[in-house]
């Protein structure tokens, strides 16, 4: 059976797109061929910077003849209907078959589709593939209209068998398919004619093109580790970089170069970042000292001087890059070790806007400092140290190094903080307070870092909420979802109990104070007996610098409606600034929504979380998660699931009775009115459960509490099986309803079970 070889030869394809492009080429072509009836035995795909290659083995030479049977009208149907059917099938009346069916004689048509030669099908499929290729980014060139990742130069498309190779007739936007390609751009640029895949791969190998990216990566890694090993060094592993570099060359040649002595004192992260980001160099480390001492670069060719010129060039470029980095490092060190230290940088942040409605970076830092100070005792940190850490955590934004390498923010801060003589806890907080940056990023665990990391995120949520920049749909320009998830993970993973509402209150007060101090709030509406009155409704309308004083009757009305915040006019308005309920619940429900996503990934249903959110104290996220986990585990057991049914039944009967009778049954169930054993058993079981649940709840041991509830399942089921709640005797009825109310109370300790689905 014949083989198919396709090569799409273009200008340099970005390394990061090559793998996916190879997969897409294979998928689109093979799907297209198979859909058209052209099956094949094997498929292999290869990519280089300049080509996507697909080789199919044992492909059908033509699609098989297809016979389609079509059911028509009844044999005695009107002439018109039969004519229409014939026209659709392209047949005449005598070619139809009459078949007896339970519904009478029906006409059937057999439509034969002849097979099509492979070349015809391949041409169609490949053209469609090229025209609809899913590049992440594509472009036009010259005066043409075709889109490709970079200009497409040639299409090689041949079908070959023992008899020889045949070019598939195909032209896409002026590019006609042929049986030629080209070798390495510099080492073997001439045209090469090929007759099949093996011939193609062999000729390319002779023309200095290693077709298989895996084999290029292997060569690079093998040669790199060898040359490093020979020098007593080791290559710093970096799979992403390896794949990228393998996509930058057709003929890899590994060269190891030196890093100038002057630069070896730079932090290793600076060396690595600079070499990797700018130069795509691997770092080479001294295994004894852990220092990065050399680099490995991968050239795309051999040269007569064995790479001497190339290596010298690369060393020179690196020298220039690193002398820039060293310039920044030296300048920065001079600043932090001088008088003023990192404060100089914080001061400079007074001129840098964080957001035009939320003030400067320096104001942000003030708020973070206040909040960190307040949060510190709750997370086991020293309040003053946390405040100091918050004050310097963002100082490195003024540093020259971070200006040049923004990805080093925080990390540089911690280097500089140590050089400035600050404590390790403070230095670490600079590095850690941005964390977690992604769902798989570690959360900070050191108390001071936790305080500052929480402060950073809570202030962000409060601030952007206050100026009404909430995320909408897919838009979340200030990464508030990430901030909320960060707060959740820091608290839950460190098992910290903090009231979210108190934290929001502190953050909100800090925000309003900061807005007032900066004259961005226009909320002074007047004063009563020397106490200033501030309007709650407008305090975050920030653009209008004017003070909106109102007349006395307006003030009186506003006080009545709760729109007024009292302050005593001193510098600290904080203690009197109330967190508006609506604001608090809006932020909290946003956090709760993120929590649902977070817990859903851990297999906890959203209705379980809703049931727990409905409980008091659900602004303590750690507590909330404990409730949800306990409930979720219980629901997975047979007892748990049935308990919920029993609870719901009890609750429904009770609610209906309460509505009908207009009273609340909540007290006074007495075993002496119990008539049946099931009833008595339930009394006993409830007493027992209560004894177990009450201390468990006090210890926030929700699992034990839920286990205690689950034990009620049997008695509750038995009760409902044998006892008629709405007894004729009103005393017995009332007693039974009060008994149900005990079930409701006990079962509602951990979560509001009425919120559960099903």
């Amino acid at each position: 059976m014949p083989d198919l070889l396709i090569e799409l030869f273009s200008e340099e394809i970005p390394a990061r797109m090559q793998k996916r492009a190879g997969e897409d080429l294979q998928k689109l072509v093979t799907n297209g061929l198979v859909d058209a009836g052209l099956t094949y035995g094997s498929a292999a795909v290869f990519t280089t910077p300049r080509r996507l290659t697909l080789a199919l083995g044992d492909m059908l030479a033509a699609s098989p003849r297809q016979v389609e049977e079509r059911k028509g009208p009844k044999a005695d149907a009107p002439e018109k209907a039969i004519e229409g059917f014939l026209r659709g099938a392209g047949l005449t009346r005598d070619q139809l078959e009459e078949r007896d069916t339970p519904k009478g004689k029906i006409l059937f048509a057999k439509i034969e589709k002849p097979g099509r030669p492979a070349a015809e099908i391949v041409a169609e499929v490949l053209e469609q593939t090229i025209r609809n290729f899913p590049w992440p980014k594509s472009m036009r060139w010259g005066a043409g209209n075709l889109k490709w990742v970079r200009p497409l130069h040639s299409i090689l498309c041949i079908i070959s068998d023992e008899a020889g190779a045949e070019v598939v007739p195909l032209t896409v936007d002026g590019i006609t398919a042929g049986n030629t390609t080209r070798g390495h751009r510099f080492l073997a640029p001439d045209e090469i004619e090929v007759t099949g895949f093996e011939d193609y791969q062999a000729k390319l190998a002779r023309a200095s093109v290693v077709l298989d990216p895996a084999s290029r990566a292997d060569t690079i890694w093998h040669d790199a580790t060898n040359v490093a090993f020979a020098a007593g060094l080791e290559v710093v592993e970096d799979a992403g970089l390896l794949a990228e570099v393998a996509g930058l060359v057709e003929y890899p040649v590994v060269l190891m170069g030196r890093i100038g002595k002057d630069f070896l004192g730079l932090p290793p992260e600076v060396l690595q970042t600079s070499m990797k980001e700018h130069q795509k160099f691997f770092s080479v480390r001294n295994p004894k000292s852990g220092q990065i001492e050399r680099f490995i670069t991968v050239a795309n060719r051999t040269t007569a001087d064995e790479g001497t010129t190339i290596l010298a060039g690369n060393e020179k470029v690196l020298g220039a890059r690193l002398s820039d980095a060293k310039f920044f490092w030296d300048n920065d060190l001079r600043t932090v070790t001088a008088e003023g230290g990192m404060e100089t940088w914080v001061k400079a942040l007074e001129n840098v806007t964080f957001h035009n409605k939320l003030g400067t970076q320096a104001e942000l830092i003030d708020r973070m400092a206040t909040l960190s100070h307040e949060l510190a005792p709750l997370v086991g940190a020293d309040a003053d140290e946390a405040e100091q850490a918050a004050r310097v955590a963002k100082a490195d934004l003024s540093s020259e190094m971070v200006y040049e390498f923004p990805e080093l923010q925080g990390l540089m801060g911690s280097y500089y903080a140590r050089k400035a003589g600050l404590s390790d806890a403070v230095a670490d907080a600079a590095k850690d307070h941005y964390a977690p940056l992604g769902p798989s990023d570690d959360v900070p665990t050191a108390p001071v870092s936790i305080a500052v990391a929480l402060a950073e995120k809570i202030d962000k949520l409060t601030g952007f909420w206050a100026i009404d920049e909430k995320p909408t749909g897919s838009k979340d320009p200030f990464a508030l979802r990430r901030a909320a998830l960060g707060v959740i993970r820091i608290l839950v993973e460190n098992d910290l109990n903090i009231s979210g509402l108190s934290a929001l209150q502190i953050s909100y007060a800090a925000l309003i104070n900061s807005q007032l101090d900066a004259d961005r709030a226009n909320i002074l509406v007047g004063d009563v007996d020397g106490t200033e009155l501030w309007s709650r409704g407008s305090h975050v309308t920030l653009d209008d610098g004017e003070t909106a004083r109102r007349n006395d009757s307006e003030i009186a009305q506003a006080i009545e409606q709760g729109e007024i915040i009292f302050t005593d006019g001193s510098a600290d308005h904080g203690s009197r600034i109330a967190l508006p309920n609506e604001f608090a619940s809006s932020v909290l429900s946003f956090i709760h929504d993120r929590l649902k996503v977070y817990l859903r990934d851990q297999g906890i249903r959203h209705d379980v979380i809703d049931a727990c959110i409905a409980m008091e104290g659900s602004d303590d996220l750690t507590l909330l998660v404990k409730r949800a986990r306990a409930l979720s585990e219980t629901l997975k057991t047979d007892d748990g699931e049935n308990l919920i049914q029993g609870f719901k039944r009890a609750n429904n009967i009770l609610s209906q009775a309460e509505e009908a009778d207009g009273v609340e049954y909540s007290f006074g169930a007495d075993p002496k009115f119990a008539e049946t054993d099931a009833e008595k058993d339930l009394f006993a079981a409830l007493d027992k459960a209560e004894a177990k649940i009450t201390p468990a709840m006090a210890a926030q041991d929700f699992s034990t509490a839920m286990a205690g509830m689950a034990e009620l399942r049997g008695p509750i089921d038995a009760f409902f099986e044998t006892v008629q709640v709405n007894a004729d005797n009103p005393t017995v009825r009332r007693n039974r309803l009060n008994l149900l109310s005990r079930i409701r109370t006990i079962c509602s300790a951990v979560a509001d079970l009425t919120k559960l689905d099903g």
Partner: protein
């Protein structure tokens, strides 16, 4: 005439070699634009001429300013004022990569000894509302050029597509000449009666401008100038197409674009002064982009931009 190059010995020889090479490839060799710009792309010969259907081929040197890159003339290869060599050909010819490699040979880079690479680098100019796909070209790990196929400029799709080449002249020349510090690079022939280095020409100005850019430029004045340029640009574009004096149709795309260039440069200065935050940056860039878009809209209403009288009568 052969492109086989003699090894150049000075900065200016490299510039002359490029001028000669691209002249031989049929480009109109233009002169620098007489305004402060951040890059050769800002020259109207690129920005505006990449729009519309008219074919175009131009090459020129463009002095460029990047205030934040100033290092008082001390850094071996960072300058706040430097030269770019810019080539723009529309439509992009199919052998543009080969033409480009030819230009490297023309300035004395031996293709047999060096490692030339085309590394993904999509170009986007948020201030010009422009983007394109292409590469940075590496010679032994050194970025020596930008190579871009323009897809959109000033919010307009480019059709046909222009191929743009930008060479950072100092860096490229240092490489070719084997100089380690830009200030040591021979500017004219080392055998000239008065041999001058790059430092002789530019050390003084780099120091002065670094101080000015970073610490002295009056930000209040600059903020005013930014606003003035913006207002002025809009004012120019608001004028009717028909000139009341001559009665001719004169759409003033270029004068308006001058104001856009001005605003862009002032923004760069403000940025160097460190008074623009990340969030504000976006707003400023957006304002310059709005101007660039309006200028592009105006340019396609000119004859050079492909406008024909029939277009008007058709509407």
């Amino acid at each position: 005439m052969s492109d086989a190059a003699q090894k150049p010995r000075s900065f200016q020889e490299i510039i002359l070699a490029l001028q000669g090479y691209w002249a031989r490839q049929g480009c109109a060799v233009l002169q620098p634009y007489d305004m402060e710009v951040g890059a050769g792309t800002f020259h109207p010969a690129t920005t505006l001429r990449s729009l519309g259907s008219q074919p175009w081929a131009a090459a020129y040197v463009q002095p460029s300013r990047r205030p934040t890159d100033g290092r008082y003339g001390e850094n071996p290869n960072r300058l706040q004022h430097y030269y770019q060599y810019q080539v723009l050909i529309k439509p992009s010819p199919p052998n543009l990569q080969e033409l480009y490699l030819g230009s490297l040979e023309a300035i004395g880079i031996d293709m047999a000894l060096h490692d030339i690479r085309f590394v993904e680098d999509d170009w986007e100019s948020p201030t010009l509302g422009a983007w394109g796909l292409g590469w940075e070209v590496w010679c032994d790990g050194m970025e020596v050029s930008q190579f871009t196929y323009f897809q959109q400029v000033g919010g307009h799709d480019c059709h046909p597509v222009s191929g743009e080449l930008t060479y950072g002249l100092e860096r490229l020349a240092m490489y070719v000449l084997g100089v380690d510090h830009v200030m040591d690079m021979p500017f004219n022939s080392p055998d000239a009666p008065i041999p001058l280095t790059y430092g002789d020409v530019f050390k003084q100005t780099e120091e002065e401008f670094a101080r000015w850019n970073f610490d002295t430029a009056n930000t209040d004045v600059l903020l005013d100038q930014f606003n003035e340029a913006e207002t002025h640009c809009k004012f120019i574009l608001e004028q009717p197409a028909e000139d009341p004096k001559t009665g001719k149709r004169i759409v003033m795309a270029h004068p308006a674009y001058d104001q856009c260039i001005k605003a862009s440069h002032i923004f760069n200065l403000l940025d160097a002064r460190g008074v623009i935050s990340v969030t504000e940056r976006q707003a400023y860039i957006g304002r310059v982009r709005a101007l660039a878009k309006q200028c592009a809209d105006a340019f396609v209403q000119t004859r050079a931009g492909g406008w024909t009288p029939e277009q008007d009568s058709a509407t």
